[in-house]
Amino acid sequence: MMTAPAPFLLKDASVSRVMTQVCLALVPGIAAYAWLVGPAVLIQLVIASLAALLAEAVMLRLRGKPLAMFLSDGSAVVTAWLIALTFPPLAPWWLVATGTVFAIVVAKHLYGGLGQNPFNPAMVAFATCIVSFPALMAQWPSVGLQMPLLDQIDIILGLAPRVDALSGATPLDAMKTALKLGDGEIDVAHLLANQDIYGNFAGRGWEFVAAGYLIGGLWLWQRRLISWHAPLAFIAAFVAISGALWLYHPATFANPLFHLLSGGTMLGAFFIVTDPVSGCTTPRGKLIFGAGAGLLAYIVRVFGGYPDGVAFAVLLMNLSAPVIDLLTQPRIFGMKDES
């Protein structure tokens, strides 16, 4: 006797399909990134993916879960890619691997594995590493660095000295440091005039990376894998607070466009705050989650000591997600008028 319950018809959907589409959506951003800083990014993607799958396999074995079913669900690869894209592209291999293993083992499996993690694993990896290895996490390739693939591999694998070429910073970090050093003498407009670093909007080449993530994110939205709520609220909060402060004192606060197109804003908007497991699930909850993450990210980014604030902002909002969901339950069919 078969006991399979209705519905007998099922939509052609699976977790691995969801995860594959997320990975596909990252491709435009990755392409722009690789064009900007070189193939090192791709190497980091491979390192992170291998580390994630290995850690996943070990944890699944330890937890007595079926390996094939969960290794092929693609969730570990998504986490790995997000880590590889947020870490400095020429970071030593063990740093990326450590972050990834920590994300999979601690942030994911110790909390119960797929679907159970209260915190975004990639952001846990970023936060852990930036607190533990601040110097390495701040070493970005100098802008316009031309380095052959083999040299990049040597640096990542630690076979070559970490040369001065790596003393660069992200445009976001460069801006903050310059403003701090300038101590009121230098204004944002002068800094942004340096097109070598800042390009036309926010950082030479970085605008294209941000645009790549934007395109991928819009595709995910069009495919209905993410809803508009969290990304829009995240971006709106960023624009609101950066715009207000920029209008208040344009000399010390960069304009909203700079903030939207630099750092992890676009990646965060479409690939981080949209994480369904650790984020909010109700429509209003997603708006609050996105807006809260945007505000906090700006505050950490501009007033805090770290190069970017998206990771900490998202982790703080992850903490609040359950209570936000509880308080924002939508009204159901037929009960919309009840108070």
Binding site: P5, A6, F8, L10, L114, S227, R331, G334, M335
Partner: protein, 575 residues
């Protein structure tokens, strides 16, 4: 005239698979070898059997009598001999047997003396009773006795009568064919419902993938000079759910806690209207229905099948392919695999689907929920299925009720879209049945407690009465003695002894009652559970909070709950 349509949230668009079974007209299924007619074929009570083994019955003869208002009569589907009135396997997912009348057809298919119902001279109540006696129930699948829905709310004006011809589930085409072929009788039946409910307007909703049916209905409405509106509604599952169709046609949302008449709207299936008209105009009770036979078969088609026909005999008409491995009753979204192939066709059987892995591939293994929210987007009742799942899985049934589990209509949209292949509806059914079971247990415990307390009260009363009698006897004796003494004392004051005579009697009675009340109190306190004696402060606080909630919930006696278990035990030992 274009009718303004409203949208309902959620819903899905599974492949409809309806074209296979609409190419041929409805065919009458041949008489089966035997008929198994379950007595309980509608929501509500189980009709009482009025025949026994050996009886000869004629087609349309009453075999089960409605046992209450929400109950509908059951009739012999053909002429023949009653073989047994016995428990038989049922087309129900539970697989439990139920009382059925087994009839061996004599092949003559002889009707009873059919008399049209004198509708013109009947009161509305007569008509409702007649429909009940004719076994007219909702044929859309819910099988609610139709007469029970034909009374308008007293306080709310009846705005719309909705006739459901949407037929949103994939594969099912029985209503489609019925509308194409027998539109006039449907429209006449709707006229009866209209007369009884007096709505301001009548709307017939048909999904826009059935243009032939809609055209036939429009033609019939025009021909009969009715002012019913035939409205094409967008094809989207579950647009044919009563609440969804009401929403689409009127914009009104009927919550689980309300009746649709409270919002001035009522809804019937087209086939129900048809059977109502057959009963009234031809004196034919419901003994057959249209069943779509489709799925993994060579010749899908709609059959008019007698109620009680074994499903395997009906399915055989459509020639199932050899790899058929089961029969689904209903559609692929809400139907279920019948426990054995020979269970009977009942009034709720709108469709039989031959099941095969080729058509319905086995489900991939269940993965953990990733909270993607696809289920919430698909839920037509705007619930949060993943939250319900979470709490149902944890057997946290209180929480499932907070998340409105009883508003779930089990349409299956959430399971349909779930990328983790979680059988969400299964979890919700499980939670609902657990909640019902607990409710029953609690009611049983409450009843036991009431019985126990009454017994205690009765015993105390008997003791008190005994004591009173004794006291009275003593008082009478004292009075007698006093009277004697008074007589001896001859002519002194007569009032004093009389007073003395009353006083002891009353005092004894009072004392006896007080003693009884004190004993009752002591006993009640003794009945408290023992584990509350040594509480740590935290437990005590929790207990206080629970009692506060109970009191807030209107449970007057705070101790009742804690004592209930003991009371049950006592009552049991007493029995």
């Amino acid at each position: 005239m274009l009718h303004q349509l409203f949208k309902f949230k959620g819903g899905v668009k599974p492949p409809t698979n309806k074209t296979q079974s609409v190419t041929l007209p409805i065919a009458a299924a041949p008489l089966p070898s035997r008929l198994i007619v379950p007595l309980h074929q509608s929501i509500g009570g189980t009709p009482r059997p009025v025949v026994q083994a050996g009886d000869k019955v004629r087609k349309g003869q009453l075999i089960g009598e409605a046992d209450g208002w929400i109950s509908a009569a059951v009739h012999a589907p053909t002429s023949g001999t009653v073989l047994a009135v016995a428990m038989q396997p049922q087309p129900h997912p539970s697989g439990l047997d139920a009382l059925s009348v087994v009839i061996e057809p004599d092949g003559r298919d002889e009707w009873i003396d059919r008399q049209p119902f004198d509708y013109a001279n009947a009161t509305p109540d007569d008509t409702r009773r007649y429909l009940q006696q004719s076994g007219v129930v909702g044929l859309g699948g819910a099988v609610f006795p139709t007469h029970g829905k034909l009374t308008a709310s007293r306080s709310v004006a009846m705005d719309e009568l909705i006739i459901n011809g949407a037929e949103c589930e994939p594969y099912i085409t029985c209503d489609d064919l019925l509308m194409r072929e027998r539109a006039a009788d449907i429209v006449r039946g709707i006229g009866i419902f209209r007369d009884l409910l007096q709505p301001k307007r009548v709307l017939i909703g048909i999904e826009d993938n059935k243009p032939e049916a809609a055209a036939a209905m429009r033609a019939a409405v025009a021909e009969l000079g009715e002012n019913f509106e035939v409205v094409s509604v967008p094809t989207r599952y579950p647009a044919g759910g009563a609440k969804q169709l009401i929403r689409v046609l009127t914009g009104k949302e009927v919550p689980a806690a309300k009746r649709s008449t409270d919002l001035g709207v009522q809804c019937f299936n087209v086939a129900t209207a048809y059977t109502a008209w057959r009963a009234i105009a031809y004196g034919e009770p419901v003994v057959s229905r249209i069943v779509t036979v489709t799925g993994n078969v060579h010749a899908p088609r709609n059959y008019e099948a007698l109620i009680g026909t074994p499903m395997d005999e009906l399915l055989a008409l459509a020639q199932p392919h050899p790899d058929t491995d089961g029969t689904v009753m209903g559609g692929p979204m809400m139907g279920f695999l019948v426990p054995t192939p020979d269970v009977p066709v009942v009034k709720a059987t709108n469709c039989l689907i031959a099941h095969a892995d080729r058509l319905f591939p086995p489900k991939a293994p269940e993965m953990p929920c990733i909270r993607c929210g696809a289920c919430a987007d698909a839920c037509p009742h705007e619930l949060q299925p993943f939250e319900l799942y979470w709490h149902a899985r944890a057997k946290n049934f209180g929480k499932t009720q907070q998340y409105h589990i009883f508003d779930c209509i089990e349409c299956g949209c959430c399971s349909f879209v779930c990328p983790s292949r979680i059988p969400l509806v299964q979890y919700f059914r499980f939670a609902k049945s657990e909640i019902w079971a607990r409710e029953r247990e609690k009611n049983a415990a409450d009843e036991a407690k009431t019985r126990f307390e009454f017994k205690q009260f009765r015993e105390e009363r008997e003791k008190a009465e005994k004591a009173e009698k004794l006291a009275k006897a003593a008082a009478a004796q004292a009075a007698k003695k006093a009277a004697e003494a008074a007589a001896a004392a001859a002519d002194s004051s007569p009032a004093a002894p009389a007073e003395a005579a009353v006083d002891p009697a009353q005092a004894a009675k009072k004392a006896a009652i007080e003693a009884a009340m004190a004993r009752a109190k002591a006993q009640r306190e003794a009945a408290q559970p023992k584990n509350t004696d040594t509480l740590n402060p935290q437990q005590a606080e929790e207990l206080a909070a629970i009692e506060a909630r109970r009191q807030a919930a209107g449970l007057t006696d705070a101790a009742a709950g804690t004592a209930a278990v003991d009371a049950t035990r006592e009552a049991k030992t007493e029995e």
